[in-house]
């Protein structure tokens, strides 16, 4: 059985309503207000806000500091942690630090290789991988124990999340097996890679449902609206692990330039409506990359607003 935590996100999922999460990316400077502004843009439209951890290996304000800032604003952060940059001492230390501020959601990731980022010459760490990070948080929470064996009283109450990518193909069965491994490690919710290939996603979900995995892990479907046809082409050709079918590129490119953003939002809205009917989908993770101001419109147009009032405990 999955542990119950004070997480508002966990309560929302347990209530049977579709959960809605979104994410904000920290700035590449010491500007602390960026996250506040982004958080304020979306706070009434989502149940929890992910803060990315040096995404695409580009150095930014740390996820933990931004999560604390959101928490102090009364919002519900999801602390993203990658294992690329920190060893098990640093990771566990940050988990304890986050918990000490009442942060109750984590997303356990391995992280992009530094090859992609702005410090390609750096050493990487990868002391743990995402599955082992899940195991570690679960042990800290359920056994009050660190990997080194130290036992402690005040435990981090973390709702444990991870990513799932059905599209890093072509083997969908292997991708479902990988999620099964995360479930065995203790993951409670996953946010998927952004979905453009609906057929592959449905095939993935069917495997989860057939195996009963959808009852052990809550799947939040990943949605990223396309801003223009350039973005669609870039994601199709350049971003590893994302599957953008040609018809998506044709659709966005098939309208005049000034209408492409609107078409991208329309597509995202249609995707959410279709995904509501896919068995095992428990909510949506809307990743509007540097386009956070569009999250409210997507949430409103899909009937997911206002957010149900769930006691955060």
């Amino acid at each position: 059985m999955s542990a119950t935590t004070p997480s508002k996100l966990q309560k929302m999922i347990a209530s049977g309503n579709f959960a809605v999460t979104s994410e904000v990316g920290p700035p590449r400077s010491a500007d602390g207000e960026v996250i506040e502004k982004k958080g304020n843009l979306i706070k009434d439209y989502v149940d929890a806000i992910n803060v990315t951890d040096n995404q695409t290996s580009v150095c930014r304000v740390c996820s933990l500091a931004c999560c604390i800032r959101l928490k102090l604003m009364g919002l519900e952060p999801v602390l993203q942690m990658v294992t690329r940059d920190r060893n098990r001492i640093a990771l566990q230390s940050d988990i304890l630090g986050a918990a000490s501020f009442g942060i109750h959601n984590m997303l356990c990731l391995t992280g992009d290789h530094q090859h992609f980022g702005d410090h390609a010459k750096c050493a990487n760490v990868f002391d743990l991988d995402s599955v082992q990070l899940i195991q570690t948080v679960r042990m800290m929470r359920d056994e009050g124990k660190l990997l080194g064996g130290h036992e402690f009283e005040v435990r981090p109450q973390m709702f444990i999340g991870a990513a799932a990518n059905p599209f890093a193909g072509p083997n969908v069965a292997m991708r479902a097996s990988r999620l099964a491994k995360k479930v065995a490690a203790g993951v409670q919710f996953v946010q998927t890679q952004c979905i453009y290939n609906m057929d592959t996603f449905k095939e993935f979900m069917k495997i989860l449902v057939d195996r009963g995995l959808h009852e052990k892990v809550s799947v939040l479907a990943g949605i990223t609206p396309m801003k223009n046809v350039g973005m669609a082409k870039y994601m199709q050709k350049r971003v590893p692990g994302i599957d953008v079918p040609d018809e998506v590129v044709r659709r966005i490119g098939g309208v005049p330039k000034e209408k492409q953003a609107e078409e991208g939002i329309n597509l995202a809205v249609e995707q959410i409506e279709e995904l509501k009917g896919v068995e095992g989908v428990r909510g949506f993770h809307i990743m509007a990359i540097e386009w956070e101001e569009k999250v409210p419109e997507i949430v409103e147009r899909t009937g997911l607003y206002p957010r149900p009032n769930i006691d955060a405990g």
Binding site: R84, R88, T110, G111, D112, H113, H115, F116, N124, F126, D127, L128, D129, S130, V131, Q132, Q135, T136, L147, A163, A164, N165, A168, G169, P170, N171, M174, S177, R178, A180, K181, A184, A185, Q193, P240, G241
Partner: protein, 222 residues
């Protein structure tokens, strides 16, 4: 075996251009197999250096030799008679050989002539790829005979990550995803059940993280 590549001639020249008597010392071991530092490569480098000195109008002596292995004292000792006659030595052995040579001839300048790269296989002549990172505790029995530490760019013990694409690693289309290889091999062997079992955090103390390593085999010592 250990794989290495010759250093660019300009880099070696920059190191040795001020000396008058040089020895180029190849090694008959691994670096001979990958054609980076055997007798043949020692002769080629010595010729290139002689040509350089001639063009510069310099009277410099450049000799070449190759030892059976530079990672063993008994072979290094074969140089003891003539070592005093040289100003410096360029060792074409791997980093192990260069260091052992320098250790044995403490007052002699010893420079590396190759860049030591990894432990790997000969895919074909001139094409070598990594297979092992000497982590000190082999897990190949659990991973279908494919090492995730050497062959996954993130050394994941529970891969694959979400970045692999059509069986290739996210960092290069030329690198196969190590975890796709593991998955396929486990499938072939009928051992896919291993794939879904989480592997606990690894004890890296037997790897580089535990500090410089040493093996003492009492059963072998005389």
């Amino acid at each position: 075996m250990i794989k290495a590549v010759p250093k660019p001639l300009e880099e070696v020249l920059d190191l040795v251009k001020d000396f008058n008597k040089l020895l180029i010392a190849g090694c008959d071991g691994c670096v001979t197999v990958c054609e980076a530092g055997g007798l043949k490569e020692a002769k080629v480098l010595a010729s290139a250096l002689r040509l350089y000195f001639t063009q510069e109008g310099r009277q410099a002596q450049v000799d070449e030799t190759s030892l059976t292995r530079q990672c063993e004292k008994e072979y290094l000792a074969q140089l003891s008679d003539k070592m005093d006659t040289y100003d410096a030595v360029v060792s074409l052995a791997c980093g192990v050989g260069v260091q052992y040579l320098a250790e044995m001839y403490n007052n002699k300048i010893v420079y590396p002539g190759v860049d030591t790269c990894f432990m790997g296989v000969n895919e074909e002549r001139g094409v070598y790829s990594e297979r092992c990172q000497a982590c000190g505790r082999c897990i190949l029995a659990e991973t279908g005979g494919v090492c995730p530490i050497a062959r996954c760019s993130k050394r994941m013990l529970n891969g694959p990550c979400g970045g692999s694409d059509k069986g290739k690693c996210e960092i290069s289309k030329d690198i196969p995803c190590g975890w796709e290889l593991i998955y396929e091999r486990l499938k072939t062997l009928g051992q896919l059940d291993r794939f879904e079992k989480p592997v606990d955090p690894k004890d890296w103390a037997t790897s580089r993280d535990g500090g410089p390593r040493k093996i003492v085999r009492e059963d072998l010592r005389i």
